[in-house]
């Protein structure tokens, strides 16, 4: 044992130092060229077609002459910003869905402030989401539209589809938690002991920084340290560096969450697992997943440590539809939006499934 040094030879360290210093100095030139405005996320052309306070409804400009007749309304999560679906031109699920001929709308929940402290899950589902659905229906003079719920937005979409099934032609859920009591998620486990009511009362708004921290601490060394050390290898490549910076922006651009919404989300969904028990009540009406009888496509990530696959796959046991399809992708939670595999295959999968049913 004592014959081998447990650390690198000094000469190797010197060589590494010289190489790294060279990379860093080259990278300095790239740094010098970049400006904050170069981090242009969510750049696919879109127009605002409806607004209620901080909530906006966007319509993406179609890229094909004849998009699918029934549009898709994307319902993203409140805990992060929607532009993860449109991070950059060559890594944009939105752009790829447009190219597949889909007509896309998206709800931007905005950045809640203290005046939104009392907003509830009901306000988001029966209020904002319902109004956005109405806006799309009116614009297209349609009785039904397609819904695509992403992550927590999938739960809002599920609740809405269960309450207003006549307005939803097809429902797609993507990396959506359904059974919150399955094993395998650190976040699920941690949340079980949280006193959300006290947090809501104490803070009013749950700070986005706190939520980011909760997500990042799942793997502290990888997410806090290593990624910055690995940065040295991409410093001299402007495109890669910009990609890193866009992702970095998204990770830390976490909106504050209304306290009352947070309390309900933690107590009713995570701790009470009420969605699958049929005990969620919104606007005086009970959410029964069995009422979802329209076609359902459930897309999940096989390596998702935030929303375990088993949590998403539970949906099949609770919905009332006879047209249920599952698609798994060999990626993690974030990979679902940006990995090469999903960038190639996800949009065609969604489009093909919708076209068969429209």
């Amino acid at each position: 044992l004592s014959g081998h040094a447990p650390w690198p030879e000094p000469i190797a360290v010197l060589r590494e130092q010289i190489e790294t210093a060279g990379k860093l100095l080259d990278g300095l030139e790239v740094f010098g060229r970049l400006r904050a405005e170069d981090i242009d996320v969510g750049a696919t052309p879109k127009e605002e077609v409806y607004r209620d306070g901080k909530v906006r409804l966007f319509h993406y400009l179609p890229t094909v002459a004849q998009p699918l007749r029934i549009p898709v309304l994307i319902v993203y999560a409140l805990f992060n910003r929607y532009y993860m679906l449109d991070l950059q031109q060559d890594r944009s699920l939105v752009r790829k869905m447009l190219d597949q001929g889909l007509d896309l709308y998206l709800i931007d929940w905005g950045y809640p402030d203290r005046s939104d402290r009392w907003l509830t899950f009901d306000d988001y589902v029966n209020g904002y989401l319902e109004d956005c659905v109405e806006a799309v229906r009116e614009r297209h003079e349609l009785e039904e539209i397609n819904l695509l719920g992403v992550c927590q937005g999938g739960d809002a979409a599920l609740c809405y589809a269960a309450l207003e099934p006549e307005k939803v032609r097809n429902l797609i859920t993507m990396v959506t938690p359904v059974d919150f009591h399955v094993d395998g998620s650190l976040v699920n486990t941690w949340i079980q002991g949280a006193n959300a009511a006290t947090a809501a009362e104490a803070l009013g708004l749950i700070p986005g920084e706190l939520i980011s921290l909760g997500f990042l601490i799942r793997s502290p060394f990888q997410r806090h340290l290593r990624k910055y050390l690995d940065l040295v290898d991409m410093l001299d490549d402007e495109e890669k560096l910009l990609g890193f910076l866009r992702m970095e922006k998204w990770i830390f651009d976490t909106p504050d969450v209304p306290g009352e919404f947070y309390r309900e989300w933690i107590e009713d969904f995570y701790q009470g697992n009420k969605l699958v028990k049929g005990e969620i009540e919104l606007g005086g009406r009970r959410v029964i997943l069995e009422a979802i009888r329209m076609p359902v496509l459930n897309v999940y990530a096989e390596a998702d440590d935030l929303i375990p696959p088993a949590s998403s796959m539970a949906l099949e046991r609770y919905v009332g539809t006879t047209d249920y399809t599952e698609r798994a992708f060999p990626v993690g939670h974030i990979g679902m939006y940006v990995s090469g595999k999903t960038q190639r295959d996800l949009a065609p999968t969604l489009a093909a499934w919708l076209k068969e049913r429209t």
Binding site: S2, R114, G127, G193, T198, R218, F221, L229
Partner: protein, 338 residues
């Protein structure tokens, strides 16, 4: 054993050199005006420094370990002993706070509250008439309250604080007591949490040293500093994630988080009291106003929805050739029943 410069020192020197070079560049200053870039550089350098400090600690430990290994002593036992000593040091340093009596903690609590009180107290200095008197007169209420606690603590070691308060300051006094209890609970929970984290750092170090020893025995030592730091991070991450899943950690995290929220809530009660006497709207009052606006908006939305459904029904009516059925929203039903 290789002789020569210490790899960790070399790498540290490189980081410092890079920092100096970067900060001296005129281009950097302009680039850094965008928060993302300057933040990124800082994060990169901080990550390097942090990781190297951890690796340095491990290498120091290894240096201490090596002579024992040379004597034929079982190196795993030596690593365990070394880790035990680190743990003892860490916990004894932290133990002072954890075992402090309430009498020692009370002044700390008051000092903690000062960060809230001072701006408000400064404002009182300029306030006219009775308010100024109340706050900074011959016998200012806040000072009296504070002295009451100090005196009573000195005389009774805190027991008097648990007895019911009397006089005009009774309510404020109770709020301060509740705040102290919450602060104490938060301190305890936080200490327990930090203890677990400190122990996990030691375990990570222990496992890293074992991994290094295993590799050295196989002649597979990391060839670069990068490989060494990566090995450290992978090893430490595994140890931390294991701990994160343990019942001990989950309970400690929940207790610390919940205790901090409870303290925050109690602290707001105290701040609200200070705001009221200075004619400033309290957070609670503002929240209450927001709640009323929220309820009104809900009613408005229900009415809008009802109107929309009515219009839809009217549009459909001529085609159906009959009187339309007008659906009534849940909100409207509630109003009618009220």
């Amino acid at each position: 054993m290789s002789q020569g410069p210490d790899p960790a020192e070399l790498y540290h020197a490189m980081i410092d050199q890079w920092r100096r070079v970067v900060l001296a560049q005129p281009g950097f200053q302009s680039a850094a005006q965008g928060w993302t870039l300057s933040d990124l550089v800082e994060r990169y350098l901080a990550a390097q420094s942090t990781t190297m400090r951890l690796v340095e600690l491990s290498l120091d430990a290894w240096r201490e370990l090596l002579p024992k290994v040379g004597t034929g002593e079982d190196w795993r036992t030596s690593i365990t002993a070394l880790a035990g000593r680190f743990r003892e040091q860490l916990l004894s340093d932290a133990g002072t706070e954890g075992t402090a009596s309430e009498a020692q903690l009370w002044p700390q609590y008051l000092a903690h509250l000062q960060r809230l009180g001072l701006p408000m107290l400064d404002a009182f200095r300029e306030a006219p008439g009775r308010l100024q008197e109340a706050a900074f007169g011959e016998d200012p209420e806040l000072t009296r309250l504070t002295n009451l606690f100090w005196d009573s603590y000195a005389q009774t070691f805190g027991r008097l604080l648990r007895s019911p308060g009397l006089g005009p300051g009774r309510e404020t006094s109770e709020k301060l007591e509740r705040g102290f209890d919450a602060w104490l609970e938060w301190s305890r929970a936080s200490f327990r949490y930090q203890t677990i984290i400190a122990d996990t750092w030691v375990r990570a170090l222990e496992r890293f040293l074992s991994e290094l020893a295993d590799r050295a025995a196989r002649g597979e030592s990391p060839a670069t500093v990068r490989a060494l730091t990566n090995l450290y991070m992978e090893t430490a991450e595994a140890v931390f994630v294991e701990k994160f899943m343990s019942t001990e950690y989950i309970e400690a995290q929940a207790q610390a988080g919940n205790a901090s929220m409870e303290y925050w809530r109690r602290e707001r009660e105290i701040v609200d009291g200070l705001m009221k006497i200075s004619h400033v709207p309290t957070r609670t009052e503002v929240d209450e106003a927001h709640r009323q606006v929220h309820e009104l908006r809900k009613e408005l939305r229900a009415l809008r929805r009802e109107l929309r459904e009515l219009r839809h029904a009217q549009r459909r009516a001529p085609a159906a050739g009959g009187t339309p059925h007008v659906p009534v929203s849940a909100g409207a039903e509630e109003e009618e029943s009220d």
